[in-house]
Every structure is written in C-alpha cells, then in structure tokens.
Symmetry: C2
Subunit: 275 residues, 2 copies
C-alpha cells in the first residue's frame, strides 16, 4: 500500500479506501477530499446511517427504532446537543465526518451539505443506524458478488409496501436495498447476512419485486441501478434509509440525515457487532 503522502498527492482510488482505516477515511471526509458514496470503503468495518432530530421528537423516534429493528438497528444515540459519539466512532464529529448530508425543513429537502456544523442546534439528538454496506465485505469473502461495488456506483434502493410498526408521530413503509445474486448463491447470502442482525441481517424479500410493491426494478427511488445478469435474482435487504423516509412524512420542523449511500464509517468491526 502507498504511504499517505503519495496517496494524497495522486488522489487515492477506491482500492486504497478499501484497505484504509476508518480514522484516516473520516479525516479525508472531514477535509472534503471524499464527498461521494462510501460503499466498499474500510472493508470489515460497520457503516452507519444518520438521523438528527430535535429532542422533542427523539422519544417517538427512539421508540420507532425499537419497534422496527430490521430496518432500524440502532448502533448509538448521542447525548442531546453533543456532536460526539462514545462507542462506534470516538473522535468523530457527527456534523462533519459524513461525506454528504441532507437538510429537511417541514419534510421538504432544502439542500445537501458536506458540513452541517453551521446548522447545529443545542437540542439535536443524533441516531446512528446500521447499514447493509457493512456486510458487503463478508459477502465478497464468501464468494458472493456485490454488483454495485463491481460497477463503482451506489446501491439501488426502493420504497416498498411493507409497513413499519408505528410509534408516536412516526409511521410509514420500509425502504430496501437490492443486490442481484446468482440464484445458486442465495442461501449463502442469506446465511452470511443473517448472522449480522445489527447491520440489517437477512434479506426481507427474495425474487419477486412486485410482491413488496416495487413496480419497476429498473427505476430505484434512491441510488443507482445496477446490471442484473441472466441467472441472477434480485434480493432485498431492509435499508437504513427507511427511518429518514418515515421521518420526512411526519414533517418535523428540522431534520438532518446522511445522503443515501453516503455513510458514517465507524471504528467497529462487523464481527464485534455479533456479540
């Protein structure tokens, strides 16, 4: 591997991000060298979705995550007003260490930012939720291909007709991510991911997109479409974009999330999350 100086001069490529430490990649994100999606970076380390809400809505949202552990496996909740985390990424700045954020006011997308520190409020609570990017290193290791990594793009994500359990003001349907899997490798993909419930675990659906309300597999609601080859079946996992989709429907005065696919890379190895 190249030393960091060379890396910085040449501009690191995807291969370098795969083997770099979370700490070093977060530093490149903080200085805005990296502003793109994070799939494949820091292989073996868990990645996390972000939802920031005012304290007034935090109880209902925390209850929502408790009632919907498949789509909202909670990795950490900040103290009110704090931009730091204790467990999953000590030293990280919640307001700067994600490549791209979305700001919503009253449920409307107001803009995307690479740094939300100027928007910070004393009553903000940050929720970090497991992300299926985390288990992709384990899929690859088990010989299961991950198409959006091969094609260097974001994972395709879809809104479904699968209802979440409501909690307080929050209700809505699940969002899923999709990976096309060679049909003979599907049991292996289920077993590998089923062993990692804190980053979404086993698939929620295999094979027939229309059953879960996806009318056009070629038009994802978030992320990029990937190639589905002959002999491959679309496999769907619960997605951490679910809570931001649900939160937006309740039109909170302000909410900040990551942009889909642009995650917090944590210091926690996926294997640590099993226990």
């Amino acid at each position: 591997m190249k030393d960091k100086q060379t890396l910085m001069k040449e501009g690191p490529n995807m291969q370098d991000y795969t083997t770099m430490s979370p700490h070093d990649v977060r530093a490149l994100i903080r200085e805005e060298t990296i502003t793109g999606q994070t799939s494949g970076m820091c292989a073996g380390y868990a990645q996390a979705n972000l939802v920031i809400l005012p304290k007034a809505l935090a109880y209902d949202f925390l209850l929502f995550t408790q009632r919907n552990p498949r789509s909202c496996p909670l990795l950490e909740v900040s103290d009110t007003g704090s931009r730091t985390l204790r467990e999953i990424a000590p030293g990280a700045d919640i307001a700067k260490d994600i490549p791209r954020y979305r700001l919503y006011r009253n449920g409307n997308l107001e803009g995307e930012y690479t740094d939300v520190s100027p928007l910070w409020q004393d009553d903000f609570v940050s929720f970090l939720i497991g992300c299926s990017f985390s288990f992709e290193a384990e899929l690859l290791e088990a010989g299961v291909p991950v198409r959006h990594i091969e094609e260097g793009c974001n994972v395709p994500m879809y809104k479904t007709n699968i209802p979440c359990a409501p909690a307080g003001v929050f209700h809505g349907n699940m969002v899923v991510s999709m990976r096309p899997i060679p049909h003979e490798l599907i049991p292996r993909a289920v077993l590998v991911t089923g062993d990692m419930p804190r980053v979404h675990g086993a698939p929620i659906h295999i094979g027939s997109p229309e059953i879960i309300g996806i009318t056009d597999i070629y038009q994802p609601d978030f992320g990029d479409m990937v190639t589905i080859r002959p002999g491959e079946v679309p496999v769907f996992w619960p997605c951490g974009v679910t809570p931001q989709n649900v939160v937006m429907e309740s039109r909170p005065p302000i909410a900040i999330t990551h942009a889909p696919g642009h995650m917090l890379i944590t210091d926690i190895k996926n294997t640590e999350l099993k226990y």
Copy 2:
C-alpha cells in the same frame, strides 16, 4: 397431561406449569392462583422483566436500554397509558398478568401487589425486558443442569461492580443471575445462551465472583441461594433486575416493576427471538 378442570381442582404442580401454554398460565396468574416465581414455567417461551415509569422519564430509560443491551434487551414498549401489548403477549393485561409487582415511590419500596390496576396512571409507559429464565429450557435440553429449577426456588441474583453506560438521569451497576455449572459443561452453556442475545445471551462472567464485586456468593441480593456442588463453577449472566436497581437509584416519583423472579410469560418462543 390432565385436563384443565382436573388441574384446577387438584391445584396444578410445577410439572403442569412447565407444559401449559402462556395464555393459560397468565389466566391463573390474573385470577391469583399463581402468585409465586415463574422459573421453569411454559418451557420454550420467553419471559420478561417489567419496568413501568411515567412518560417524563421514558426517554432517558429507553436510551438506557439502548446503551445497555446485555442487561436490558428490550422486547417491547407499550404505548403511553396503555395496559396492552401488541407483539409479545397480545391479550395480556400488564397490570394483572404478572404474579407479583413492586411499587416504588421516590426510590423507596412501598409494597408488593398481585394486581396494580388500582394504581394505574394515564402517563405510564411499560418496558418489557428479556429474562434469562427464557433460555433455561434450552440449557436443560442441551444437558446443562439448572440448579434453582431442580431445587424449586428462585434464581440467586447479585449486585456487581460492573458499571452500566449512563443515559440521562439513569446510571448504576449491573445485576447478575447465577447458575452453578459443572466445569466441563461451561463452553456448552456459553454457546447455548450466546445464541439468544434478546434474553441476555452469553454469560458476563465465569468463575471468580470477587472480580465482579460479589463478596459473599452465599448471600444473594435477590432471590434464593442454591447448592454449588464440587466440580461446579458459578456462572453469571446479565439480569433484567439491573434496570429496576438503576431506576430506584434515580428516585422517580413513582415506578412499578415485577418482583424479582416473578415474570411476564410471553407468547413468543425463544427460537423466534433469534431472528
């Protein structure tokens, strides 16, 4: 098995409770035929600890459970003011279907009750937390003895020096349950229980009570002492009495819990909690 009429006349014994359905045992609890501890009842079904708090403290407590999943694996949270559950025991009455409750005011134990419906408040939120009684059927099936079931008493429980992660007003140390295990069966006991994280999972300590701050193994803080035979080692699991111990230290105006060992028996099989 005897029919219910005969059972009621004779007074059912422990063997009958082991194989009875959760629904039927809860009915006997509601009518106060059963007022004792529930270890061994309804083998294979998850049992749950209870903490009831006013809504004003519910966010801090929910956050406490999120930060301490080993001692506080949350199975369900009621809607505010509701005495019913959706997921783990539909049809159960939270205020009547536990054999024995404890009422605390300002952190002081005021009394024990078999029915807390006269005390109910519109702002009560009920937290149901996994209990290690749940995995005892699996231990027995794997050939691991469970001494307090053999001796027909409550499990011994101890306060420790293991700090919980604080959340808001709540902080304090973990409470553990203890089972003496023949030394050669300890790996098996770890593997069987480690597979069931939502009912406390693997042991938190094996072998040296003094390391975790237990000075006299023969004086449990809750429950009953059991025999430790030659060749057996005390094994300690995180216990759902932890949150009630922690809650009491914060001296809420009112709190209701189960009495240690006197659990809610749910309709959820332990095996369902794995996925």
